[in-house]
């Protein structure tokens, strides 16, 4: 397929950046290049093309909030003391003065009340952490819904999933560090989670806490994990994630001139660098505004951790809310056999389910490519409607997640909506099984309906909203053909074929043996593709156009009249004004 380069105003093969007389910058560049040889690399990448779409910037929110986390986190470490040694608080927050607490809590209070900007940085750090994980999730959803995870990007999907997992762990360890009542309650629950593990549970707990809960080791240990171990891995994985992004080049939406072979967008320098750099400041700024204006984790109200105290509304941060919700709706099942205890009521929701969900997440690209048998590279994105089953799978997973999330906040929902926690719990116990199924069915049908709508639009034109009365007195709505660019965009997708077992032959034409899972794979492939609307063929389009020509003849007298419908596609203006932009 040839790319029409005549309309490409600027290509990367521009004039080489060799000024006649090197200026100061040139001297520096020369110095660096002679030692590092960056020239070749930079030449390739400085004008690297990135396509422009708002949904491509969601991952950037995660990247920039991670930078905010690094900066604010370093600030916090300058005052925070990761120690569980007991001290009597003598800082300036009156209601806790004289109370025994850990040095960790005392230093957190000092940061909040005696260091100027300390509370701001604490709050920024916490908000940025929430934004970090939330943006990773919406980025993941975008990648999944548009099919950007397909070959060759499966490994980047895996890295991204690991980032989400590590980000969550990083968040949980950070949540625990102030050693206030809420975080201590969280650690205590985590101790209970560990103890539910068969065989190794109590050992895990004693090793982690350096003895019996609460011990005096957990805060320093979590601190090391929080500021060194996980951030280190996160940094490395983020670097790998970005390198792969650059290597694969970004995916793009199909459209005129945008094909599987090229990538159309703005060059890295200057536009994309400016937009990305500007967005960094915006993410930083939003974090600062939230940190300054919205109170988060007011540890002074919780007071220091005390294993005998608890507060209503004891919840983890939102990203741990869904397993916490599962814990809440799980019936109290526990087995006693051969002299041991197995706490299904804790083990399943908090140890098994997160692991299972994460495994499912990790496997999604591989499951799909196995079902479809599609092993080709894909650089063009799909609209969610054009992969109805895939979209429905994620919506079902989201429904599950959402219901578990609601269960995790059931007490707050109960008081705010005047409901009963018992009723909410009973409802979600049923809904968590039924809801995802319903969501799957509805989403899938919905997507297929939207596909049909697209097909109609392509074949019969779009609805103008103009009702015509024929000479005989009949009424009909005027349809006008969509413009060429949109028509091309609607057709620029691949034809899908259901994979059927038994039609494979090996290199010699001998039918291959049916694999054990072939039947299942065939069924899944049917579910995946059989009901989808396939892109319009040339013949269908010609037939439709033929029909439309006939219509147009009938309507010819309307053309050029004030309300012929063309004011909506910009062919002419109404009262000299474009009702629809011309781009």
């Amino acid at each position: 397929m040839s790319v029409d380069t005549s309309k490409v105003a600027d290509t990367n093969a521009g004039t080489a950046a060799t000024p006649k007389k090197p200026g100061k910058a040139g001297v520096v560049a020369n110095w660096a290049d002679e030692r590092l040889g960056l020239g070749t690399l930079m030449k390739k990448n400085l004008r690297k093309v990135f396509p422009d779409h708002w949904s491509f910037m969601l991952g950037e929110i995660a990247l920039w909030s991670f930078v905010v986390l690094l900066l604010s986190g370093v600030f916090l470490t300058l005052w925070y003391t990761p120690s569980m040694g007991e001290v009597e608080y003598q800082g300036s927050y009156n209601p806790l003065r004289g109370v025994e607490m850990s040095e960790a809590m005392a230093s957190t209070l000092r940061l909040s009340f005696d260091v100027r900007g300390g509370l701001l940085m604490r709050q920024m750090h916490h908000w940025a952490a929430m934004l970090f994980i939330a943006s990773m999730m919406i980025h993941l959803l975008r990648v999944y819904f548009t099919g950007a995870f397909r070959k060759p990007r499966e490994l980047n999907w895996v890295i991204g999933s690991l980032l989400l997992l590590l980000g969550t762990l990083e968040g949980f360890t950070g949540y625990s560090l102030p050693d206030d009542l809420l975080s201590g309650t969280g650690i205590r629950a985590a101790d209970g989670f560990m103890k539910s593990m068969p065989v190794v549970g109590t050992y895990m707990s004693f090793f982690l806490f350096g003895g019996e809960f609460p011990g005096e080791a957990i805060i320093p240990r979590l601190y090391t994990v929080h500021v060194l171990l996980i951030p280190g891995i996160l940094l490395a994985l983020i670097a790998a994630h970005m390198l792969l992004l650059v290597y694969h080049k970004h995916t793009q939406w199909p459209g005129p001139g945008r094909t599987e072979e090229n990538v159309v967008g703005f060059p890295m320098l200057p536009v994309y660098a400016a937009k990305a750099g500007g967005f960094f400041f915006i993410v930083f700024g939003v974090s600062a505004l939230m940190g300054g204006l919205l109170s988060i984790n007011p540890v002074w109200k919780f007071g220091p951790y005390d294993p005998t105290k608890v507060t209503a509304g004891s919840q983890p941060d939102w990203y741990m809310g869904w397993p916490d919700g599962l814990l809440r709706i799980m019936p109290g099942w526990e087995s006693h056999f051969w002299g041991v205890t197995l706490s299904w009521n804790v083990f399943i929701p908090i140890i098994v389910m997160p692991g299972l969900m994460f495994t499912i997440l990790l496997m999604l690209p591989f499951i799909e490519s196995w079902v479809t048998g599609d092993k080709r590279d894909h650089h063009l994105l799909q609209r969610p409607r054009n992969a109805p089953t895939r979209t429905a799978v994620m919506v079902a997973l989201m429904t599950f997640y959402g219901l578990a999330w609601i269960a995790g906040g059931n007490d707050i929902i109960a008081i705010k909506l005047h409901l009963s926690i018992n009723q909410i719990t009973y409802f979600i116990r049923a809904a968590i099984f039924v809801g995802p199924v319903i969501a799957f069915l509805i989403t899938r049908r919905w997507c297929i309906s939207l596909q049909r709508h697209d097909e109609q639009k392509l074949l019969h034109g779009y609805e103008t909203g103009i009702i015509m009365r024929s000479a005989e007195g009949g009424y009909s709505e005027r349809h006008l053909p969509v413009n060429e660019a949109e028509a091309y965009t609607l057709t620029a997708r691949e034809r899908e074929e259901v994979w059927t077992p038994g039609d494979r032959t090996d290199a010699n034409g001998v039918p291959a043996k049916r694999g054990r899972l072939d039947g299942l794979r065939g069924k899944l492939s049917t579910l995946m593709y059989a009901d989808n609307v396939q892109p319009v063929t040339k013949e269908e389009l010609e037939a439709a156009h033929h029909h439309a020509d006939h219509e147009h003849e009938l309507q010819a007298s309307l053309e050029g009249q004030p309300a012929d419908g063309h004011q909506f596609n910009g062919h002419h203006a109404v009262d000299g004004e474009d009702l629809r932009g011309d781009h």
């Binding site: 929110i61 939230m290 109170s295 209503a312 941060d317 707050i412 109960a414 008081i415 005047h418 009963s420």
Partner: protein, 292 residues
């Protein structure tokens, strides 16, 4: 300065604003002596006026309360045998003062949670009704202002009281009423109410009498000084500034998570849409050289 305000604030339930506290303190100091002499003689015939008060209370009671609580406050049982309105013998004036003074009684509809409504009776009527309820059996009396006021303590003692109160509050109260006094959920649709807007007197009465499903904290359980300290801490919670900005309802991580998604992610996605959106286009061409 703030400490002074806080203390002064406890003089009156009807405290309005910070300056009002100072003014009230001044007014109080000037008038205390004088007023005492004026009202002291009234104490002499207290028994007589008490009887009149009880009688007045009984009248009100028969009209407004007896339908559920019985003509003599003995309680009414439904046909099923469950309590319609409980017996009021022994609940004490404190209980009546709390239930009426916070607008919980008279009840419009029985249920798991007694709703707080605008107060129906005026102060005198509440006093009369409380006196009548108190006459039904011995129970906790309406606390005196000095029971819950830090009046007469030195600054250091006050600070100590608030600190002790914070620990007692976090041990006994936060489990239901939440760390900032905003309330929390209870089984089967019940709820522990927000206590930040409750007057010290009513908080004291609630601890004494255990309204609704609340446990009681009798003087044998939590000493009067400890109750006073708890109230001092609640006042502190109410009056101290929100150091970190808007409190988001003081409900903990659930509301924080909601704000992270709606404000944070919502705002940033909005910015992303703006950044990637195409700018307006012109139908003109640049003149030669303008866009070299």
């Amino acid at each position: 300065m703030r400490l002074l305000n806080r203390t002064a604030g406890r003089i009156s339930r009807h405290r309005r604003g910070r300056l009002a506290g100072v003014v009230m303190l001044m007014v109080g100091l000037v008038l205390t002596g004088g007023l005492y002499t004026v009202f002291a003689p009234a104490q002499a015939d207290s028994s007589e006026s008490d009887a009149a008060l009880v009688a007045e209370g009984r009248e009100l009671f028969l009209v407004s309360c007896s339908f559920c609580h019985g003509k003599n406050g003995e309680g009414v049982l439904t046909e099923g045998g469950t309590q319609y309105g409980p017996s009021l013998a022994g609940v004490g004036a404190a209980s009546a003062d709390f239930q009426l003074g916070t607008g919980r009684m008279p009840l419009t509809r029985p249920g798991q949670q007694v709703a707080v409504k605008p107060v129906v009776f005026d102060d005198d009527e509440i006093e009369a009704l409380s006196a009548y309820v108190a006459s039904l059996g011995p129970g906790p009396a309406v606390p005196d202002e000095k029971d819950y006021s830090l009046e007469g303590l030195s600054a250091a003692e006050r600070e100590e009281a608030v600190t002790r109160g914070s620990q007692i509050f976090l041990t006994n109260c936060t489990a239901c009423h939440n760390f900032s006094g905003n309330g929390g959920a209870m089984p089967r649709g019940g709820a522990a109410p927000n206590i930040l807007g409750t007057t010290p007197e009513h908080i004291y009465e609630a601890m004494l009498t255990g309204p609704g499903n609340m446990d009681t904290f009798s003087n044998g359980n939590l000493s009067p000084e400890e109750k006073r300290d708890v109230i001092a801490y609640v006042s502190q919670l109410r009056e101290q500034p929100e150091y970190g900005g808007f409190g988001l309802g003081g409900l903990g991580p659930v509301s924080e998570g909601m704000f992270a998604w709606l404000v944070g992610i919502g705002g940033l996605v909005g910015f992303a849409v703006w950044i990637a959106a195409h700018t307006t286009r012109s139908t003109k061409q640049p003149s030669k050289g303008a866009d070299a």
